[in-house]
Symmetry: C2
Subunit: 224 residues, 2 copies
Amino acid sequence: MDDNDQPAPPLPSTRTPGATRKGVETRARIIRGALEALESGGMETLTTRKIAASAGVKLATLHYYFDSKENLLLAVLEDLIADMAEAYRQDMSMPSDPEERIEALIRSMWRYVQRTRNKQLAQTELTLYALRTQGAEWLAARQYNAYIDFYCRLVFHGMGELTEEQRKIGTAIARFMLIGIDGLILQNFALHNNGDTNEGVETLVIATRDLLHRLRSEAGIQPG
Amino acid sequence: MDDNDQPAPPLPSTRTPGATRKGVETRARIIRGALEALESGGMETLTTRKIAASAGVKLATLHYYFDSKENLLLAVLEDLIADMAEAYRQDMSMPSDPEERIEALIRSMWRYVQRTRNKQLAQTELTLYALRTQGAEWLAARQYNAYIDFYCRLVFHGMGELTEEQRKIGTAIARFMLIGIDGLILQNFALHNNGDTNEGVETLVIATRDLLHRLRSEAGIQPG
DNA sequence: GTCTATAGCATGATAGAC
DNA sequence: GTCTATCATGCTATAGAC
């Protein structure tokens, strides 16, 4: 339930050599290149050659930083997790009432998803890849827990500490929001019919607000 | 909104030669073999050789029936769509009240998902593959529309005809259920924590019943 | 730290006997 | 309709100069 601050078995061998200024930059370029190539073509056509080309480095350079394609892909997923928080904070107005925050948060998420369609596809593909990769399943879990933790905090505070009860309720809310957004992403991709999917967003907003209502009154009637 | 009875551009070249009794059987074996191999290893490691081995045929035989790996994979996805209806009807008790049907249906779906974890992963991977494959996006749409149509009918009837209003409400319900189930699948896979995911199922049941309530009263107050 | 060059191999697909 | 044998290609990864 709370394996978010996991021991986190370090990614097997992401080399990260001397860590020169230049080295760090190149490593980042390769990760960005991999994400670009993944967004444009999908996992099926993703090769180390395309990644290297997309990053503007030679194939051997790629292997200097990542000893295998697998570890590079896992590093890309890690990077996506790290970037997530920044992305949402941008265009979100922040009401003080948690119920309105839920609504603002879902709408913000959905705007972000729609303007980064291919990135979402890429992230979904990478998550499935991690689930299929022996010893990398924890990465998928970490990704989800990071999202859950992030949404949970955003529902109740700017980013401060939470009471135990807020954490419990917020986690349930966050989980449900995430379920809805993931389902919406897939359905929107498959039907590429934004009109109908927007109905789904409205329904999700209402359902999540109702859930908060329910959890709060349950907590009020039967505290501890 | 209703491109379910699509012209359906025929799958480019699934050959299907003379269609001998034996030929049809072999074709089916290859499709089953592909699904098996996909379930056990994922798209990343899925090769025509593994498929052939898993189907008990030689590599050349596979290419006699499917002129390319791509068309084989799309045929597998088609097959999954066709099998879907059978799978759910099995263990579902069928109350007469639509609200209770929604609950029974969601629980039945969830049971099915849990006992076919790898099949669901495979189907998700194939759907993403179709979305990435030029000219195959319609297959993903067909898959979703088939599910939506199926759930819609199940909410209101055994399988008979629907009134226009039932169809409209049922479609919205079905879409939302599907959003929830897809999201639940991904979250359950990533966190592999069935206890917490079951909470999500309960929440989805309540939310979907509420949605039906809302749609019905809206229709009652403002018909046509 | 980045490159050129290449090893070593697995892949999707085909030719042609039976 | 199914097989054996093989092709051509593209893959990941490495060796070694600079």
